[in-house]
């Protein structure tokens, strides 16, 4: 049985011709993301800023948001946000952190429940006290920083250090612009989003590694070829793989987005963006960066003579 769709020829796209434009665009995107993050910040979910979240379903009929809001506002417990969530009978209620430290939060939930009265099914209640929120932020930042550092060390270990620098810059680019996306569209940034960002970092590195691997291989094969042509060649040779892998991962994420329910929406959006930007950065940032950092080709060639038999052995 033969495949129905085949890319027969290796394309000859001049990626390097576009890399300046790509880098300028990315720099702009990155700076804009940082400025947005500093100026308006993120729309932190309760995981990080503390507070309360209630997902309620009104039994028998659509929810009357205005009436519910009036009842909650009458409690004078800060500005509540109510929004529809999936079906018309579902409401997501967010309440700001209450005074009185960790103890104050529990009281407010009880008050809201009694104010809204019967006929409501509480599908989800989350309360995060102020002390936990701060810890979760710290843990999240640590996880991201350590992940980047660990990945860089690994790449450095497997390649020359120049590759590590390139991979890290492009991954930071992906992480920063994802944060920017969440800042500008005011998407809720919570623990699941953080998981998505770390996955994006992993995916983006993955993509970069495949291309770097090919660059290194080509360096050994074509010792006299110019670096610019070499990078172009590597990108073109791996292009069909890049497209196919992006497609399969995108298929998985799209089905999560459309069928995975409301809770996974934020995660899917972050992942979707991450896949696109991760692929783009491998092509237009990570690979061209090598052109500027100039890996030590002689050392790579030496490595290949020493370890030529190694991959053969590894596969047996």
């Amino acid at each position: 049985m033969r495949p129905l769709i085949v890319i027969r020829r290796t394309p000859t796209i001049d990626f390097m011709r576009w890399h300046r434009l790509g880098m300028a665009f990315s720099a702009l995107l990155g700076v804009a993301s940082i400025v947005l993050f500093l100026a308006i910040g993120l729309n932190y979910g309760i995981d990080f800023k503390g507070g309360m979240l209630i997902e309620a379903r009104v039994t028998g009929g659509p929810a009357d948001l205005a009436a519910m809001r009036a009842k909650i506002d009458a409690l004078k417990i800060g500005e509540a946000s109510l929004q529809g969530f999936g079906s018309p009978s579902d409401v997501l209620i967010r309440l700001p952190q209450q005074p009185g430290g960790d103890k104050g939060q529990e009281k407010a939930i009880a008050e809201v429940k009694s104010a809204l009265g019967p006929g409501i099914d509480y599908r989800r209640v989350e309360v995060v006290g102020p002390s936990v929120g701060a810890e979760l932020i710290r843990a999240g930042v640590w996880a991201t920083v350590l992940a980047l550092a660990a990945i860089m060390v690994y790449i450095w270990f497997r390649f020359e250090w120049q590759f590590g620098v390139g991979a890290t810059i492009s991954t930071i680019h992906d992480v920063v612009t994802t944060v920017g996306l969440f800042a500008i569209f005011r998407l809720e940034f919570n623990l699941t989003t953080l998981a998505a960002i770390l996955t994006i970092a992993g995916y983006s590195i993955n993509d970069t590694v495949v291309i770097y691997d090919r660059v290194r291989e080509s360096m050994r094969k074509h010792r006299s070829m110019g670096l610019r042509e070499l990078i172009n060649l590597a990108l073109n040779e791996t292009l069909s793989r890049t497209i196919l892998t992006v497609s399969t991962v995108a298929l998985a994420v799209l089905s999560l987005f459309f069928f995975g329910g409301e809770v996974l929406k934020g995660f899917s959006i972050a992942m979707l963006w991450g896949i696109v930007v991760g692929t783009y950065s491998s092509l237009f940032i990570a690979a061209p960066l090598l052109y500027y950092i100039q890996p030590n080709r002689r050392a790579i060639a030496r490595d290949s003579e020493r370890g030529a038999a190694a991959p053969e052995r590894a596969s047996r």
């Binding site: 495949p3 995060v128 002390s131 992940a147 623990l191």
Partner: protein, 524 residues
């Protein structure tokens, strides 16, 4: 590469078969599973609270508050000791984590040391040249007590939770002074929370009738007395607060039983002391006939009845405007015992059973749709080899589920997302290999050497990309909490299983195909 030793083939087939075998229990309901014979594997993937419904509570043991209370208990002894030794002092009290006072005459420091030496071996006294003295617990004793307080709290919380009839609760310590409580499938989380949050420290203390409440409030509080508020909702018609002796007649720690019952058609709580408590209670009531005593729960007075006669039997009744619910709650709390330190709820996540069921449904649909799309995609782009990759994908899914079942890992909603994602990423290894084979064919290699080179050359790349994803997964597991940990687990397991399935299973399939059909070219 194209040669497989027989033992290797057997091993790969065995792993796949075991993967399928251990996945099967997840396809039947637990009820059916219980009826099956014992040689069938029974382990199912355990679902996280966000999928099965339930409450996740992170509690903080407020150890500092308990230490302050202990210090307060020593203040009287310090006062007496200083008075007995005729040492002048000012400003005796508890500040932060220490008892503090100032000596009138700094020259009496040595005498003070001698006088205070016998109070408690754990208290360390420090006196500055100016005469400012602090007494604090030594660090190691304090640490030991903190550990004990957390352990004891866990034990008491477990008893309380068990009494509410929650099935399969998980109660474990986290960090230095935190307790993580997971209660699957509870109907009324508010009630359980209210029960967990109460210290339930019961004491019987004499009411000081020599001074009125107003006088005491105006600053004429006799030493050794304290003002305690009445419990809201109880003690109807009584005063808002009482002046009581600090000295505890009998404490709740000597109770052996407590039950909710009725007296004159009113809900009350009956209790029974152990022999020590019974004797103390008997003596105290005999000496104080005609005087009121306060029944104090968590520093609030439930009621203050007058002692009509000595109560020698070691049992009694607490009345005080209870409802049926509050009486049975109090009885439960007294049976389970008092927490050694107050507890605060830091984090709560409760998911109703319906939402959990909806999440399972949505997550499964998303996974199935994702897998079908990927399968179709692979067949479209790789034909027969795509089918090989799809078979490997199937075993990958089975191995993931089997690993989750066997490890007892918890599957959460983000965990399901992790499965969908890894399945999308798993075929990347196949894509890398197949693209490589195509290239080798294009460069004019023979069929066999193209296959050989495809697998060999792609291996390094596959390894690198898997390791980097694994690094992200492990860090997520270390730093994440709750549902996110679930995501990290499925992501990491998925990376490992896909390494096996995409490389070994696919290769075995291709090798078998070569042997069986002896094709002349690669259908790529």
């Amino acid at each position: 590469m194209l040669y497989f030793a027989n033992w290797k083939i057997t091993l790969i087939c065995a792993v796949c078969a075991l993967g399928v075998l251990f996945t099967l229990p997840n396809l039947v309901s637990p009820a059916t599973l219980a009826t099956l014979p014992s040689f069938v594997p029974h382990k199912q993937v355990s679902l996280g609270l966000d999928l099965r419904g339930g409450s996740y509570l992170l509690l903080q043991v407020d150890f500092a508050a308990a230490e302050r209370e202990r210090l307060n208990g020593f203040v009287d002894s310090v006062r007496n000791a200083l008075r007995d030794a005729h040492i002048g002092y000012t400003g005796l009290g508890v500040e932060g984590e220490a008892i503090t006072f100032t000596l009138r005459d700094p020259g009496q420091a040595d005498e003070a040391r001698k006088a205070l030496d016998k109070i408690d071996p754990e208290l360390v006294l420090a006196i500055s040249p100016a005469g400012a003295a602090t007494m604090r617990f030594n660090q190691s004793a304090s640490d030991t007590r903190r550990r004990q307080a957390v352990e004891q709290s866990i034990e008491i919380i477990r008893r309380r939770v068990d009494e509410t009839g929650t099935k399969e609760p998980s109660i474990q310590s986290q960090g230095k002074d935190r307790i993580l409580v997971q209660l699957p499938g509870i109907d009324n989380p508010e009630h359980v929370k209210a029960l967990l949050g109460r210290t339930a420290k019961l004491t019987f203390q004499l009411v000081d009738t020599a001074v009125t409440l107003d006088d005491a409030r105006r600053g004429r509080l006799p030493p050794g007395d304290e003002i305690l508020p009445a419990q809201e909702g109880h003690n109807r018609g009584g005063p808002p607060a009482y002046v009581v002796k600090k000295r505890v007649m009998v404490g709740g720690d000597t109770l052996v039983d407590a039950q909710a019952t009725f007296q004159n058609n009113e809900p009350v709580v009956s209790f029974r002391f152990d022999s020590v408590g019974a004797k103390r209670f008997g003596d105290a009531t005999r000496e104080n006939v005609g005087k009121p005593f306060a029944i104090v729960l968590d520093n609030k007075v439930i009621s203050a009845p007058v002692i009509r006669e000595a109560i020698p039997g070691g049992s009694g009744i607490i009345s005080g405007s209870f409802t049926v619910q509050s009486a049975s709650d109090l009885a439960l709390l007294l049976r389970a015992g008092a927490l050694p330190a107050p507890i605060t709820i830091l984090e709560e996540r409760t998911v109703g059973p319906d939402l959990g069921a909806d999440s399972i449904h949505d997550g499964t649909v998303a996974c199935v749709v994702g897998v079908i799309l990927v399968i179709v995609f692979m067949v479209l782009f790789y034909g027969l080899f795509g089918i090989f990759a799809d078979i490997a994908l199937f075993f990958n899914l089975c191995l993931m589920l089997a690993a989750l079942s066997l490890l007892g890992a918890t599957l959460t909603l983000p965990g399901i997302a992790g499965i969908a994602l890894t399945l999308g990423m798993a075929v990347d290894a196949n894509v890398l290999i197949y693209e490589r084979i195509r290239e080798e064919v294009r460069s004019g290699r023979s069929m066999l050497s193209s296959l050989e080179a495809g697998f060999t050359r792609a291996f390094g790349t596959i390894l690198d990309s898997h390791v980097t994803t694994l690094v992200a997964g492990i860090l997520l597991y270390i730093f994440g909490s709750g549902p996110v940990k679930g995501f990290a687990v499925t992501l990491s397991i998925g990376v490992l299983t896909s390494l096996f399935s995409a490389i070994l299973v696919t290769r075995l399939l291709i090798v078998s195909w070569l042997r069986r059909w002896k094709p002349r070219e690669i259908p790529l």
